[in-house]
Amino acid sequence: MARVGVFVCHCGTNIAGVVNIPEVLEAAEKMPMVVSATDNKYSCSEPGQASIREAIIENNLNRVIVAACSPRMHEITFRRALASAGLNPYLLEMANIREQCSWVHSDNKEIATNKAIEIIKMAVAKVIRHEPLYPRQVGITKRALVIGGGITGIQTALDIANAGYGVVLVEREPSIGGRMAQLDKTFPTLDCSACILTPKMVDLSQHPKIKLMTYAEVKKVTGFIGNFEVEILHKAKKVDHLKCIGCGICWQKCPEKVPSEFDLGLGKRTAIYIPFAQAVPPKPVIDLSHCRYTKYLTWVATGQEGKKPPECRICEKLCPTAAIAWDQEEQLFTEKFGTIVVATGYQTYDYSHYKEYGSRDFADVITGLQLERLMSASGPTGGEVTRLSDGSHPKTVAFVCCVGSRDQQRGRPYCSKVCCMYTAKQAIMLKEHDPEVQCYIFYIDVRAGGKDFEEFYLRAIDEAGVIYIKGRPSKIYQDGKKLIVLGEDTLMGRPVEIPVDLVVLATGMEPSAGADELARNLNISYDTYNFMVEAHPKLRPVETHTDGIFVAGACVGPRDIPECVAQGSAAAAKVAALFSQDTLTTEPLIAVVNQARCIGCLLCVTICPFKAVDYQTTQDGRLIAATNESLCKGCGLCIAACRPKAIDLRGFTNQQILDEVAGLWL
């Protein structure tokens, strides 16, 4: 038998000044199952809570109504008060007679009083149906998965590992390092990118808490916070990395040369390769689509048609440790993790849609990232900036900003954030490489928001003599050896026509290929450009709507290096905070299945946004739904969808809500 206590709060004059408290108390006493109705000046104050506590004990109450402010304000406070009186905290219901009554109906005290009584009536009807609820504890696998081995992923992995927890870092390329490894210098300090990145890469590879999995991809994710199960595909490297000592003889002698992805097609690599000299791990993989021996094997397998390819196997013959493993196949492993951090980064926009800029028809129109490779001392030209067409040194260079950024027509309305600064940096660097170089930068706006950024931009003008022209070029075309850039100087209101030796397109950022597929796998949202969506752009920037899964870096939106590093550390701090607990407490206000009523239609499984409803087979062989308490967020979508009313939401059951409505007409 329910014994309900009603506690009406004056909230000073906030409620009492409008609502006639004695009248409310008198009405409340007459409500069903109510054994006491008392008032308090300030229920939330310590004396107020104490009087509730005493009344619970004194009247042997087992249900409590606090008629006061919004439950969004003080539900937790009063739940604690119930707990301190030895009562299950979930036997509380709040009647919101302040925000939704006294404050909005101060113009008519009689109406406000009547409404307050009705609100309490509804709460009484609901509270009678409350059941004691108990939060559950689940264990945590204290091991984190970091997806992506760029600067963000590296920072995240190092920070988590330094906090003392195990980390697995998965990178799909043969080496970690990401985009930052391709850069020559970084703005605005002109630090050598490799010099600040490679020590971190080495630290990571040698850290006892970090397990590095390169040339591997995340295939499937199941489970929930603290207990994820992840299938990781290890692609066939065809090289036994346990035996390999990274001597390099194989990639020096491999006869098959193919365009290097790392050098963006500007240089060559071999079929057995490490992407760049400082690669981590410094051990090669064999690119099967180009390997001569693999081609030979295919030729044998397909019936020996056509010309016989060479059998090659030079790497195998030369390898001093017999590390070449032709029988190595791709392998799928399942590992357990407590949290996952996504740091899959970005790629640059493919400007072939820009037909007015030649769609890759002109050899001397290159992208910003390609220029980085040309300027890098370890790049394909050894740091000499030369034209691809004739190998000459360009003396006039035009930069075009916002290619694939801030362009509604190309479906890329967002700002890529880093291009203004990297074009300024590249112009300064070009001037340092060759003082005779004259740079022109076509821009829409110069966005130099960042520490020392504006000063850096001014340095490009003052010291490097860069000429900034406000306007997006309309056309680039070849005229003899020169490229002609047509545009408008919108500040002068005049068309401009500049013949240059080299054009650099500052292509914008877009999420790495496959980011959408990964996001779907992890059940996290992504926007129309496939950038991952954070739980809150201001207050929860590295969290997602799926508990235990974090995002960091340029996979969320265009970011520069310091931001990526900060986000990586932020995600690591979140992971460490989670791992500092031994168990996780789960909210009991979740959906539960009445197995006897379930007909196994499994509509709930398809409707649940959190993959929290699964199915199981009963002993008598029926298929029924089952909720996962750790994944369920208690939204109640499945309940409204359930036809036989077999699934219900604790704290907001169908019966409770119907009774609440009916309470109005009691």
Binding site: S70, R72, M73, Q100, L664
Partner: protein
């Protein structure tokens, strides 16, 4: 003497946007007609069509469901289900002899206290115009 009709509205408000919006109307001291009785639900997607029909059966003059704006659902997609579910319920109300104007689905965010008060005022006005339900 003609007594002016005071309609009763049952409002199902999602906890994250609309209930917070109604709270904001309170903290901003925006007055609106006292004809609404609010029931808090975790998400507008929690609202079973049965709740609406039952409210009408018990004597409600109007039923309001308010949730987060499309795209802003705290549970990512609950309000999309709400939108579809009640597009289907609406014509069914005609069949029950309940004027479709007595049922409303509105998007009220946590920052739209003003909008919430306007919705209630406008709905109350509409229900007064339609007059009491003939049962």
């Amino acid at each position: 003497m003609a007594v002016s009709h005071e309609p009763r509205i049952v409002g199902f408000l999602c906890n994250w946007c609309s209930y917070a919006g109604a709270d904001l109307a309170g903290t901003s001291r925006i007055t609106y007609p006292a004809n609404i009785r609010i029931i808090r639900v975790p998400c507008s997607g929690r609202v079973d069509p049965l709740f609406v029909v039952k409210s009408f059966q018990l004597g409600a003059d109007g039923v309001l469901i308010a949730g987060c704006h499309p795209g802003d659902c705290h549970y990512t997609e609950g309000n999309y289900h709400t939108r579809r579910r009640f597009a289907l319920l609406r014509p069914f109300l005609d069949y029950l002899g309940i004027d479709q104007e007595r049922f409303r689905l509105e998007w009220v965010s946590a920052s739209e206290g003003k909008k919430f008060s306007e919705v209630v005022a406008d709905f109350t006005e509409t229900l007064k115009r339609i007059g009491p339900r003939e049962i």
